[in-house]
């Protein structure tokens, strides 16, 4: 009996140790506006850019990772999306600016699920919208020559017969 109890204790101790070492392993992300966010290591798993760095350094200590292209506001939005398991409803609540920035960050951090989610959300957003809207949304300057514009309209003309421009 006594032996068994000791065994049991040993197992528990080992478990506690493991948990402790897990708890220690946290990643500190420093955003562009100087805010440090401490996140679980599991969170970072999806950020392939950071994960690759961690695999390369292979350290047990906490890691500080600077994100000069990511604001704390956007990073916290991303955390929300991740903890909400990328719920479409959460995405719908984002502003246009947030959506665009998150898409850029998802690309920068190589977060595939988030990238697909935001890309399809952006596609939804520009559906049935005017050329001007898309131009503004993508932050693009019209670089067509008048001739090119005429040519283009001619090519697409048939498709827009009877369709209302918004």
């Amino acid at each position: 009996m006594g032996e068994r109890g000791e065994e049991w204790e040993a197992v528990m101790l080992r478990k506690a140790e493991e948990e402790e070492s897990k708890a220690v392993k946290k990643v500190k992300l420093v955003t562009s506006d100087g805010v440090t966010m401490e996140v679980e290591i599991s969170t970072v798993k999806e950020m392939e850019t950071i994960q690759a760095f961690m695999n390369a350094t292979d350290t047990d200590n906490s890691i500080i990772f600077p994100l000069p292209k990511v604001s704390s506001h956007i990073l916290s939005r991303i955390m929300e999306l991740m903890s909400g398991e990328y719920d479409q409803e959460l995405v719908k609540r984002l502003s246009h600016e947030e959506l665009k920035e998150i898409c850029m960050v998802a690309n920068y951090l190589n977060m595939k699920t988030l990238l697909h989610l935001t890309a399809s959300a952006i596609a939804n957003l520009i559906q049935n919208k005017s050329v001007e809207f898309v131009r503004h949304f993508f932050n693009i300057i019209n670089d067509f020559t008048p001739e090119e514009e005429v040519q283009l309209r001619k090519t697409h003309e048939w498709a827009f017969e009877g369709v209302d421009e918004d």
Binding site: V35, S72, H73, S76, I122, A123, A159
Partner: protein
């Protein structure tokens, strides 16, 4: 995460100085967005700037869209015909020859067809010639959707249980097809044809050649008789020989005679071989036609 509160004010400050464009995203991210768009949206996005115009014209994007909407109907034959029309005009840059052929790539329907092996027609395409070379998939989509490309299909005729070769053009407003058939010298033979009455040509043999069946038939197999337009050597009878029976057996041969009625209905069609049906859906389709007759 606890720092969320105090970062909001900082964010406000930095928002103003951010200038970026989604065009800075790597290509495949942008492709991700474009892939979710409908053809109409792609046309609109194409008008935003030259970069997006070029990106929305990629063959990969349009190939997917063609498969989605047209995959069921476009057979290899249709692709070959398309290739023929477009490479011909991508290579002949001569304005003179284009002006002469403005009604269509093979002259007008009422006129003589210079290429009798042809089984398609392309009309009203002069404004698309520049697209043929560099974005041929988008051009194909446009020509299909706008009804400019008459492509080869087979049309089910419920009344006499036929499925015959024809060329069709799409009417996007009604979501139906118009058909022209060689039998009537390419006159318009039918309009308002629904999607489910068409199929892509079942055999690769052209409508003018005999289809040589290379499959073994056994009792219980479902077959379909190919009708061909081959005036030079008409077959009046279709003889099916069963290899598994001995030559003396009365089951060895089965002879199908063309009767008078049939000849009246389809006076320019001749037996052109048989084809075994091995797809369940094809058999079901014929059974439905039987039932609805």
């Amino acid at each position: 995460m606890s720092s969320e509160k105090n970062c909001v004010s900082k964010l406000e400050k930095q928002k103003d100085c951010k200038v970026y464009s989604l065009l800075d995203l790597p290509e495949w991210t942008l492709d991700c967005i474009l892939e979710c768009l409908s053809p109409l949206d792609l046309f609109r996005v194409a008008q935003v700037c030259t970069t997006l115009r070029d990106k929305t014209r990629s063959d990969a994007l349009w190939e997917k869209l063609i498969k989605q909407k047209w995959g069921r109907l476009l057979g290899d034959a249709a692709y070959h015909e398309w290739q023929w029309h477009t490479t011909k005009f991508a290579n002949t840059q001569s304005i003179f020859s284009l002006q002469q052929n403005q009604t269509g790539s093979c002259g007008s329907f009422s006129g003589v067809w210079p290429f009798l092996n042809f089984h398609s027609y392309l009309e009203n395409f002069t404004d698309l010639i520049t697209l043929f070379k560099n974005c041929s998939k988008m051009a194909l989509y446009i020509c299909l959707e706008s009804g400019r490309f008459w492509f080869p299909v087979q049309l089910y005729k419920t009344a006499n249980l036929l499925c015959y070769d024809t060329i069709v053009s799409y009417d996007s407003k009604r979501d139906t097809f118009k058909a022209r058939s060689q039998t009537g010298e390419w006159r318009l033979t039918e309009e308002n044809i629904q999607w489910d009455r068409l199929r892509s040509p079942a055999v690769e043999t052209s409508p003018r050649e005999i289809h040589m069946s290379n499959c073994m038939l056994k009792p219980g197999d479902q077959i379909e008789i190919q009708m061909k337009k081959r005036i030079e050597s008409p077959f009046y009878k279709l003889v099916v020989e069963f290899k598994q029976y001995s030559p003396s057996s009365r089951n060895k041969r089965s002879v199908l005679n063309r009767n008078r009625h049939e000849e009246q209905v389809s006076f320019l069609r001749w037996f052109g071989g048989i084809r075994k049906l091995d797809k369940e859906e094809e058999i079901e389709k014929w059974n439905n036609l039987f039932a609805s007759r």
